[in-house]
């Protein structure tokens, strides 16, 4: 089953708490915002992009496309679909940071990581954690939801 | 439920009036039809009429119309009347039973003159004497109420729709030169007959539409001058104000009207110098007599009829002329119901009086110099 985080534009208030909790969830202290921001020297970049223009905003993350351009374009095979979880994943060990995926992704949902040898990072639906993605779980206005979609979705 | 007099009851209304300027009498049919046309403006909790010239044979006697809520009240009242008046004639006012008119009190009338000896004893004028007697009845005798007490006139009022009230009082049997009517929309029930319009005092009869926001101030001013506002109605206060200003203070009627619906200060500013001084003084002295809030009133007297509304015209009033007749009503249709094609129909402006004064008596009511006023 393909799954992804969907947003409700009319409910997104641009607070960027999704980013805060995304960073936290992928940090060394996944359950502790304070420590994630104060103690983790390699604090990751958020995997969700808050798009904002005037009153309109939405938190965009990987659409986990049915026909993922990023996977097909990946020069190294580092990007792939995890069929069990229905999510597009990056093998960060394998990624060389050529950004072909970035140039291929129609959503602009992939970004480089921090660090010396940056690699592509993208929403992984918080696969390392149980339950729902951190952005969804912490969106104060329920603008983000985890959607399970069939082939057409 | 407290009855009117213990509690102030706001009400809305319909008003109508007809006068023949030559003083020729005519039947009550027209006024009944006119007020009935505005049925929706009242709610069946008050209707009344006043007619002038209805008692030609006894025109020199004060015609006292009385409501009695108990035999005892009548007993006490008649004892008092016999004491202070010489009664020429008396008896129950003829009525016709009407299913929609209920809680009927005893309704009597007395044609009387002040007892000459008693009048002589006191320093009051005859009118003052009569007025005081009437007030004493209303104030001191529980269950008795003087509905009217002027000469050659009478008020006929009840709790009900005006057309039912007319039927009840057999008004079709009367003829007068001036008729006025009222349909009441009070915010109470079962209603008290005394609270219905017209309200009268001596020769004055007043019907009124609207609620005077300044009532509390007007009333305390009147009380200072010895009036007892026993009914706590706007109409009562308006009637007393007229009596005070015209009868007691002998002010010209136009000035009196200008006190009740005073010119705005910016209007006074634009007057020529002497008028400016005069009106400034009038407003300063008679400020407590200003009627503030929405009203349209018809004032009847043996001199004729005057109608007016408040200075920013918050209530409707339409007037018409046809031959010797002057008509006023809350709605034009009420006039056209009885006079389909008058020579002139107009809506007076706010504070602009409509005069329907009898031709032979005009001088007597407005005999002082009239001070010009921009309306």
């Amino acid at each position: 089953m393909r799954r992804r985080v969907v947003w409700k534009e009319e409910a997104c208030i641009g607070c960027r708490l999704c980013e805060v909790y995304c960073v936290t969830a992928h940090s060394r202290y996944p359950g502790d915002v304070l420590k994630a921001f104060k103690r983790d020297p390699d604090r990751p970049v958020p995997r969700v992009v808050l798009e904002e223009k005037g009153p309109v905003s939405f938190a965009l993350s990987c659409r986990q496309c049915e026909e993922p351009e990023c996977v097909k374009s990946c020069l190294t095979g580092a990007l792939g679909v995890d069929p069990a979880r229905g999510v597009v994943v990056v093998d960060e060990q394998h990624c060389i940071g050529c950004w072909t995926c970035i140039v291929a992704c129609p959503w602009g949902a992939i970004r480089p990581s921090r660090g010396e040898q940056p690699v592509a990072i993208k929403c992984d639906l918080c696969l390392g954690r149980l339950g729902i993605p951190a952005c969804v779980g912490n969106c104060p206005n329920e603008a983000l939801q985890l959607q399970e979609c069939g082939k057409e979705g | 439920m407290e009855k009117e007099g213990r509690v102030r009851i706001p009400s809305g209304c319909a008003v109508a009036g007809i006068v023949n300027l030559q003083g020729e009498v005519f039947g009550a049919g027209d006024i009944i039809q006119s007020i009935a046309c505005m049925h929706d403006r009242s709610n069946g909790l008050g209707g009344g009429f006043a007619g002038y010239g209805i008692y030609p044979e006894l025109k020199d006697y004060y015609a006292l119309h009385l409501f009695y809520q108990s035999p005892l009240a009548r007993e006490q009242t008649e004892a008092f009347i016999n004491q202070v008046f010489t009664v020429k004639d008396c008896g129950p006012i003829p009525i016709k039973k009407n299913p929609r008119i209920t809680d009927v009190p005893g309704i009597w009338r007395y044609f009387a003159l002040p007892d000459p000896a008693r009048l002589e004893e006191c320093s009051d004028t005859e009118e003052e004497y009569v007025m005081k007697c009437v007030m004493q009845i209303n104030r001191n005798i529980p269950g008795a109420f003087v509905a009217s007490g002027g000469k050659n006139m009478g008020a006929f009022k009840a709790v009900g729709y005006p057309e039912d009230v007319a039927d009840f009082y057999r008004l079709e049997d009367y003829r007068g030169y001036l008729w006025m009517a009222h349909g009441r929309f009070p915010t109470n029930t079962p209603g008290w007959w005394g609270g219905a319009h017209p309200f009268t005092l001596l020769d004055w009869a007043v019907v009124h539409n609207g609620e005077i926001s300044s009532y509390g101030a007007n009333r305390r001013y009147l009380e200072m001058h010895g009036y007892h506002c026993g009914l706590q109605t706007d109409t009562e206060a308006i009637t007393y104000l007229f009596d005070l200003l015209i009868r007691k203070h002998r002010l010209p009627v136009r000035v009196a009207l200008g006190i009740l619906a005073a010119p705005f200060w910016d209007e006074i500013e634009q007057m020529e110098e002497s008028a400016k001084r005069t009106w400034k003084a009038i407003r300063a002295v008679y400020g407590s007599a200003l009627l503030n809030g929405p009203f349209s009133i018809i004032i009847g007297s043996s001199h004729g009829m005057i109608a007016m509304n408040d200075r920013i015209k918050l209530r409707p009033l339409v007037a018409a002329e046809e031959g010797d007749y002057v008509y006023v009503a809350s709605e034009e249709s009420a006039i056209r119901a009885i006079c389909p094609n008058p020579e002139r129909v107009w809506a007076p402006r706010g504070g602009e009086p409509v005069f329907g004064l009898l031709k032979n008596k005009e001088v007597s009511i407005a005999d002082s110099p009239v001070v010009a006023r921009a309306v």
């Binding site: 641009g14 005037g54 009153p55 | 009400s11 809305g12 929706d40 079962p190």
Partner: protein
């Protein structure tokens, strides 16, 4: 510009050990209290504009923020208190009429808190609402004095009625005074609950079409958005004469709140003031009210109840009586503690009377006149909880309107700055950026939860009194006892003192 003598009423405290510089507070404060300082490379806060709405506090992911009342005060003076002095400074600086939002916040007595409810013991049983039926269904509308039956069926239909599952409705709040999302939230909740919402005097936005089945449409002096579609959309029509927060004062939606969406609803151009003066200029007397009531009935062919909303003022009983006689099918009476989007402070704090006394007077008066059956009474003006509802019904109401309580359920923090249009909670604003903050789905859920909770509490209180149908409580003042009230107040309330 001369210096202002006014000082910040609140203080914002930021714990540097907890602040992670995420700037969520910066983005959440429409008043500009928090900002990112480039030079210092950190978030800084300025107290002056803080209205103590708690938005930043609630949203801070690390709990780094708190707000407190400024400790700064003037020399102790029981007569000249801080607000008295501050308001003089403000008026001397601006020359303006003082404007505020929400309801009266002065310490006038709250009579609800002096009324206590009865419960069954021994002589009759209480009822357990968890297992036995306790009915709250309420019908609002004119009822005939008696029924005429022909062959066991109705000879004439009963006049139109509103059917409520709980005797609580959402009171009139226009789009403009509140956001469209706030209106949607209440509308959805009303539909879920089987009650009604009231669109206020601002017209109906096209997006509200799905919720018109349970809307009461208001006709106020400005006649905004009133046309046949609007009148036909309403389950009932309410003529707004007055509002408890500002009796005798009209509504005035400033032009800056008239954005494109409000413009559509009010049917006026963007940016122009939306003025609803105190009087309907076609109602200057009671028969004029009748005229408007019947014009609405005539236009909608007598198919829906037409109600009248008035503020509780001195002669409320007489006005109520007159309105019933003028044809009102229900009367909404709004007490002086009722809320508002904007009201002149002096009016809000000094005009009108408490709803408890007004309700008692009106119900008694209508009964004395024998016309109580002809009308339904809905009361409003700071109904805060289910006990207030029960007490109101025992005093004689058929149902209550809630406004402030409903808004609090949506997130209102009672900062009383609604008139600014910059509500950080997305409620009292038409700003698209701020309005989004209220997700109508969440709002609807919260509002519905509140009423569901009240519903159960009401049933428990009724059950405790051994009553299993709400009509048995209506006007049942024996269910009430007063504490700490003067005998005059008890007389007006027609309630016995506790112990009697």
């Amino acid at each position: 510009m001369a210096i202002s003598m006014r000082t910040a009423p609140y203080r914002v405290h930021r714990d540097p050990d907890r602040c992670i510089q995420c700037q969520v507070c910066v983005r959440q404060c429409a008043n500009g209290v928090h900002r990112w300082d480039d030079e210092e490379a950190e978030v800084v806060s300025e107290d002056r504009e803080c209205v103590n709405c708690h938005r930043c506090v609630v949203y801070c992911p690390t709990g780094a923020l708190t707000i407190s009342r400024s400790p700064l005060d003037y020399a102790a003076n029981a007569n000249w208190r801080k607000p008295d002095i501050d308001q003089i400074y403000l008026q001397s600086e601006t020359g303006g009429t003082l404007l505020t939002g929400m309801g009266n916040n002065r310490p006038y007595p709250v009579y609800w808190d002096h009324l206590l409810l009865n419960a069954s013991q021994v002589t009759n049983p209480s009822i357990d609402p968890l297992r036995e039926p306790v009915e709250l269904k309420t019908l609002l509308g004119r009822k005939p004095d008696s029924l005429e039956l022909k062959k066991g069926t109705l000879a004439e239909p009963v006049p139109p009625q509103l059917e409520l599952e709980v005797p609580v409705m959402f009171s009139a709040m226009s789009f403009g005074s509140i956001s469209l999302n706030a209106q949607k939230a209440l509308a959805r909740a009303a539909i879920d609950l089987g009650i009604y919402w009231n669109c206020g005097e601002g017209g109906l936005h096209p997006e509200m079409d799905p919720y018109t089945g349970r809307v009461i449409v208001q006709v106020a002096s400005g006649r905004f958005g009133v046309n046949m579609d609007y009148l036909n959309a309403g389950a009932a029509i309410e003529i707004k004469i007055g509002q408890g927060a500002k009796p005798g004062i009209g509504g005035h939606l400033p032009g800056e709140k008239v954005g494109p969406e409000v413009s559509v609803t009010r049917m006026i151009p963007v940016g122009s003031d939306a003025i609803s003066p105190a009087p309907h200029h076609d109602i200057y007397s009671i028969e004029d009210l009748r005229q408007l009531i019947y014009s609405l009935k005539e236009a909608t062919e007598y198919r829906k109840p037409v109600g009248v909303k008035i503020a509780a003022v001195h002669n409320v009983a007489a006005i109520a009586s007159g309105s019933v006689r003028a044809g009102a099918d229900y009367l909404a009476i709004d007490g002086f503690r009722g809320g508002t989007g904007a009201a002149p402070l002096r009016i809000r704090d000094n005009v009108g009377i408490p709803i408890e006394l007004a309700l008692a007077a009106v119900d008694s008066r209508l009964r004395a006149e024998g016309i109580r059956n002809q009308v339904s009474l809905v009361v409003a003006g700071s109904i805060r909880n289910s006990a207030d509802v029960v007490k109101a019904i025992a005093l004689g109401a058929d149902a209550v309107y809630i406004g402030t309580a409903a808004l609090i359920s949506l997130g209102c923090h009672m900062c009383q700055k609604c008139y600014r249009g910059k509500c950080n909670w997305g409620i009292a604003t038409t700003d698209a950026y701020l309005s989004k903050r209220l997700n109508p789905e969440i709002g609807a859920r919260r509002a519905a939860n509140l009423i569901q909770a009240w519903k159960h509490e009401i049933k428990e209180m009724l059950g405790g009194m051994g009553i299993n149908a709400i009509e048995s409580l209506r006007g049942n003042r024996l269910a009430l006892r007063g504490v700490n009230l003067t005998s005059r107040e008890l007389d007006i309330l027609q309630v016995k003192a506790a112990g009697e």
